[in-house]
Amino acid sequence: MKTTKLIFPLVLALAATLATTGCKHKPVGVTQLPGQKPMVGENNNPPTLPNTQPINPENQPGTTPLANPDVFDNMLADRAALAAYTIHFAYDSSAIRSSEKANLASVAQQLSGDASTKLLIEGNCDERGTEEYNRSLGERRALAAREALAKLGVDPMRVETRSFGKDKPVDPGHDESGWAKNRRDDFVLLHPKPGS
């Protein structure tokens, strides 16, 4: 009897201690989170892009500087005219192979026939290589053809370059036969728009 009488207050005391120490672990701070605004505003994407070109082209040393892009405005693209003369490249290279020189000569000949035409060279890569690396490599390939055409007498100021990196493969294959087709320069003939 005596022992139970003694134990009872002890249990009470213990419970009280537990309750107070337990209190310490209860959340004390309350963090009120602010309302969430969408990251992208409502008035997003104006339908037409402003066509700003705020910087004047400056004279910096380069291999063969490119013409101002305005020169190529108001031109109509003819993708079929030079489609047969697409040239191909070795893996990770922008060097023009001797096997491709006949096609370049044909492109040069077409351009010499009509001084009003201009040329767009599109550089492309296979999927081996990282995205922006390939965008630079594709540009190198287009620029290499432009330089080769200049040696054949084509005024480089008539030639525009555009790299698609690995974004525009002609062959979806993931093997050398597909890759070989994708490492290429396509030539697009540009005619002046009638009336411009």
Binding site: M39, G41, L49, Q60, P61, E131, S136
Partner: protein, 393 residues
């Protein structure tokens, strides 16, 4: 005489060899310190009790990609407990020191956001460093035909929002530090051009529309300058201009540059290039000056560098057959290959990386990598192929 020479060699050769071994040993010790930091660190064991459903998923995801592992309470270094009944509330106890590190309740938002806020407080309480659970990412989402859009999302891929609706080729989004604004490449006007896009107002304008390539914008840490790749001079090179596109300056004359990034002090721009037909990483003073190459010992074909916010590391992609995400000390040296993948971007905590991982079906998914522990988790997906991630910092 000959015999004497041989004697000398016999005596001294081992001495030289010994000296060489010692010198090499010392080198290896310093290198090893770097390796143990990246890729070989043990995760911090914690227990999670009382949480369920989405709250539990969020807490586990957020902590896992910042170097924590989950164990039973008797094996844990820190005990995390609480509830998500109505709102998220939780506490953190150091099991060995027997001290309470954190006790907090969160209100006023979805359970998901409250859980992210709690995760950040847990990371701060245990490591003393700021968590990343409430940060943002940008990336490109590409359809099979190559057309894509720029997206922004929470760091775990949730709440994705399209920034563009152009249905054209896009590339290389880059955040303005500390602001809801991005730069990116779009072929919308035909050529690859660089645009600035204010996410709050939707205003955008071209800041680089030169002939040829305009791509890979990277914003300086103070937001006032943009580095990029232009080919208007006749080859793809690194240029820098003011945030609005004015004051353009050519920085390099190497033959094939790509992917510039800034040092956190704004003094250097690191980029991938080709010198003597070899692909390597290099850096150039942001104000102009000589190009210095960066040693990446142990791997080949490095591209896509990204400088860690603490200035110590450069993450990049190596290509030796397949692609790997790697890190190297910012001064160059021995490389740590972490996981297969491409195009890493550092989180503000300088330990978690987001990168693109190619699936067996040749699509890309975005994944998070805790570089010290090599713990990896895919983020939530948008429909197409997601790549070129950029972490807002």
């Amino acid at each position: 005489m000959k015999k004497n020479c041989l004697q000398l060699i016999k005596i001294f050769l081992p001495v030289f060899l010994f000296a060489a071994v010692i010198a090499r040993g010392q080198n290896e010790i310093t290198i090893e310190q770097n390796i143990t930091v990246m890729g070989m660190t043990k995760p911090i064991p914690v227990s999670l009790e009382g949480f369920t459903g989405e709250t539990l998923d969020v807490l586990k995801f957020d902590l896992y990609v910042q170097g924590f592992s989950f164990v039973t309470p008797d094996a844990a270094q820190y005990l995390i407990s609480g509830s998500n009944a109505g709102n998220v509330q939780g506490r953190v106890t150091d099991r060995f020191a027997k001290t309470s590190l954190l006790a907090r309740s969160y209100t006023g938002a979805s359970l998901r956001r409250e859980a992210h806020a709690f995760a950040d407080d847990i990371v701060l309480a245990i490591t003393g460093k700021k968590g990343i659970a409430q940060t943002k990412i940008a990336f490109k989402d590409e359809a099979p035909d190559g057309a894509g859009e720029i997206y922004v999302a929470d760091f775990d891929g949730h709440n994705p929002q399209a920034v563009t609706h152009d249905g054209d080729i896009v590339a290389a989004p880059a955040w303005v530090p500390g602001r809801l604004a991005v730069y990116y490449t779009s072929y919308k006007l035909g050529n690859p051009d660089i645009f600035y896009h204010d996410l709050t107002t939707g205003q955008r304008r071209a800041i680089a529309r030169y002939s040829g390539l305009n791509s890979s914008a990277a914003v300086s840490p103070d937001g006032t300058k943009v580095a990029m790749i232009l080919s208007k001079g006749g080859s793809p090179n690194v240029y820098v201009c003011n945030a609005d596109g004015t004051g353009l300056k050519k920085l390099t004359t190497t033959s094939e540059d790509s992917s510039p990034c800034w040092s956190p002090d704004g003094q250097w721009i690191c980029f991938a290039t080709k010198i003597n037909a070899r692909r390597l990483l290099a850096k150039v003073p942001a104000g102009g000056g000589g190009v210095q190459t960066l040693r990446t010992v142990g791997v080949s074909n490095p591209t896509e560098p990204d400088w860690s916010p603490d200035g110590k590391w450069i993450a990049f992609t190596s290509q030796m057959g397949e692609f790997d995400v790697c890190v190297v000390p910012a001064s160059g040296g021995m490389v740590t290959v972490l996981v297969p993948g491409e195009d890493p971007s550092w989180a503000p905590n300088s330990r978690t990386l987001i990168y693109a991982r190619r699936t067996t079906s040749y699509r890309y998914v975005l994944s998070l990598l805790d570089a010290p522990t090599k713990q990896v988790k895919d983020i939530a997906r948008v429909s197409g192929s997601d790549s070129q991630p950029a972490w807002a910092r």
